[in-house]
Amino acid sequence: MTKPFIPPLSRRALLAGGGAVIVSFALMRHGLAQEAPAGPKLPGDLSKTPMLDAWIGIDAQGKITVFTGKAELGQGVKTAFIQCAAEELAVQPSAINLITADTGRTPDEGYTAGSHSMQDSGTAIRNAAAQVRDIMLSLAAAKLSIDAGTLDARDGKVSAKDGRSLGYGELASGQALHVAAQPTSRLTPPDKLKVIGSNLPRVDIPGKVTGAPMYVQDMRPDGMLHARVLRPANYGARLASLSADAARGMPGVVNIVQDGSFVAVVARGEFEAINALNVLSQNAQWSDGPQLPEQAKIYSTLTALPSQDKTILDKGDPAQPGVKRLKATYLRPYQSHGSIGPSCALAIWQDDMMTVWTHSQGVYPLRNAIAKMLSLPSDKVRCIHAEGSGCYGHNAADDVAGDAALIARAMPGTPIRVQWMREDEHGWEPFGPAMQTQVEASIDGQGKLLAWQYDVWSNTHSMRPGGPGNLLAAQYLAQPFQPDPPMPIPQPEGGGDRNAIPLYAIPNARVVSRFIPQMPIRVSALRGLGAYHNIFTTESFMDEMADAAGADPVAFRLAHLEDERARAVVSRAADAFGWTKDKPAAGWGRGFAFARYKNLAAYCAIALELRADRTTGNIELGRVVAAVDSGQAVNPDGIRNQIEGAIVQSSSWTILEEVTFDRTSITSRDWSSYPILRFPSLPQSVEVHIVNRPNAPFLGTGEAAQGPMSAAIGNAFARATGTRIRQLPLSPQRVRATLAT
């Protein structure tokens, strides 16, 4: 590594000479609660961290540093944040140095999840930058004894018409930015935007396509050792006996670290660690764990478990029979995050301080969990985000960070790198939960929806740390920690019931969320949470109801949508696809689906065509056309990249993916037993249209297409084959079996 190994905790060094911030960030944060102004809510996460210098620092040379508590997960937020800051500070994007999630330096913005980054952090940064720019203008006005309205802020300096100018670095001295944000900001008006709304190339891509050290996997500080953790085959198994001598004597092996049933091997080389792990594994006996449910009966098993039922929508009489009433049940299996790179972390225990580099989505919650696991005060643990392989939710990132911290604690002063093996990532990650939904609806004599009754059964969709027991390793220590009791995520965002409330106007409707606390399979947050299956259900059933009404699926949706932005997105996707124009070719079917993610983030509609091969059961995806409204688009190409990616990923989930298990353990432990979409099965084309809304709030986009894509596939399949499949995935095996009957 060429950079200093541990970045300085104090921001004084970072902003050397500027004096804009003279206290460490940790201390400054302590004072924030008292300083938060009462009154109107501040924009975005300024409401949680209101001091401007927590977000933006300017040193004496005018170097600008922007701090975000959100993390780059490959979704491109670094670039979008830089655009927000550069626009309002009136500087070139290249003038912005962005620091991402680091408990030593950045605001606590919780998890980088739920498509919240632009809404929470992007909004905070944009507003903070606008207010800092205005502070620069007013400071310059005072120094130059001139009206601020006549001054121009550009490229890091404030200039008067008479030619005098002052740099941001001169103006930002002292405590200039150590002030609380105001509720409103003078944002750049839509017609003056230069950086926001432009396709600024991603700042991380050049490094990623040339092999620069971009990832936590690529960190190799001096003296670093490689570790691998021994895991049992089954959930809940305990180490019965272990003979470590053979592994200990192997080339390169430095240490075997053991605490109860947590065992790790530490070696000089990575391959040496892997070889030693294999030998260790052969010399370990484990107790049996609890029996897993029978996979073939997983849905009846889950729905038979006790549930906490909550009616989240209740209006009128949803039992009204109308002129036609239909009922259907939809099923979604456990699905894997399936990160291409197994999770990895690096930790060092030095000078009574535990520092962990992690690709966790939540450095602050992780820090607290690790501190509790190690019985350390939380200010003795620092978690710094470093990019990993894409996670798409709560994968093993936090778990491996816990592993690294435990091993590092046992070997003071030695940087410890741990990466999971493929079979561990596939076998131990917390999966997206299996779900069941049941929907019953009726139409009236005019072909309009009259009543809607919807029930969703699901485990929790978040077992993130949280408490230390949510870190896998902590459950295996001599003094183990138990996982937190699972909790539902409340509406309006929801967890298992995310998007369970239809956006359509239906006079009589009831939605019941049936939360199942007991978790026979380890689960947590997978991109979109319950929205993926609730949208699959709702949008599939909308097609079934449209058929019952003898209506075109798009027209039927429009007839029940009152939100103008929803209507605009539906119409845009349908028009761009040519929905009403030409007919599909013989054998091909068309499908349409729409949702507003969480009913409060981005709007997304998708039209597509496909055909199914009755002999192989393979689904061939043709054209896919999407329309999306993310509010004010900060980086249109970034939005397109996210939607395209979600379309491909959701195709893979919908057509192929299902975690498998027998009565003792997870059996889908690699890419052969858990296949995902490969190049030949991609859609023919994917086209994304953005409905830009200048000046409208940013709406989270990262998860917006997961649900609509699944239902568009299901609907197109039903039209192509005349048969509807209501159980995910629409795998070759299931397609063959269904079409054969």
Partner: protein, 165 residues
């Protein structure tokens, strides 16, 4: 035991067990970052490098079989300030999200374009099927390979080793 490897035109004396897969030698001994550990099973392609003109899974290729053969990694194609045509096409198409799979994707595509200057869509999809991307960036990867093929017709193949055309 010492084995001599030729990597990106440079000769390296490697002191390692001959059964060690090339991936670990690239990453640990030579501190090259591009080739990634993905599965260790030859199922995902994140570790793909070129041996002579063929794309191989470096996670499965023991260094003992590499004597006298030419290994190329992503680092050998170009750098951020001077990317190869294929790397430049990936930048132009913004063909990455997390990017973890991308080094393997580019190396595999490089092998194709060195043999077939004008691959069809079907040929590209077929050739790339061994490599997985989980972010769903494949549509962009296809566009980038297509763009590079067109760009490379007006320039050299863009490898630092003067690859066969």
């Amino acid at each position: 035991m010492t084995i001599v490897l030729t990597i990106n035109s440079e000769r390296h004396q490697i002191d390692a067990d001959p059964s060690t897969p090339l991936l670990y030698v690239l990453r640990d001994n030579l501190k090259l970052n591009a080739a990634k550990f993905g599965c260790g099973l030859g199922q995902c392609g994140a570790c793909t490098v070129l041996v002579d003109r063929e794309p191989v899974f470096s996670c499965l290729t023991p260094i003992s079989v590499l004597d006298g053969r030419r290994v190329r990694t992503l680092e050998g194609l170009g750098i951020a300030d001077k990317p190869s045509p294929l790397q430049a096409a990936f930048i132009k198409e913004q063909a990455a999200q997390c990017g973890y799979c991308i080094p393997g994707m580019i190396m595999r595509a490089q092998a194709l374009l060195e043999k077939n200057a004008s691959p069809t869509q079907a040929e590209i999809r077929d050739h790339m099927q061994t490599n997985l991307c989980r972010c769903g960036t494949q549509m962009r990867i296809l566009r980038a390979i297509d763009r590079a093929a067109k760009d490379m017709k007006t320039a050299d193949a863009g490898t630092t080793t003067g690859a066969a055309r």
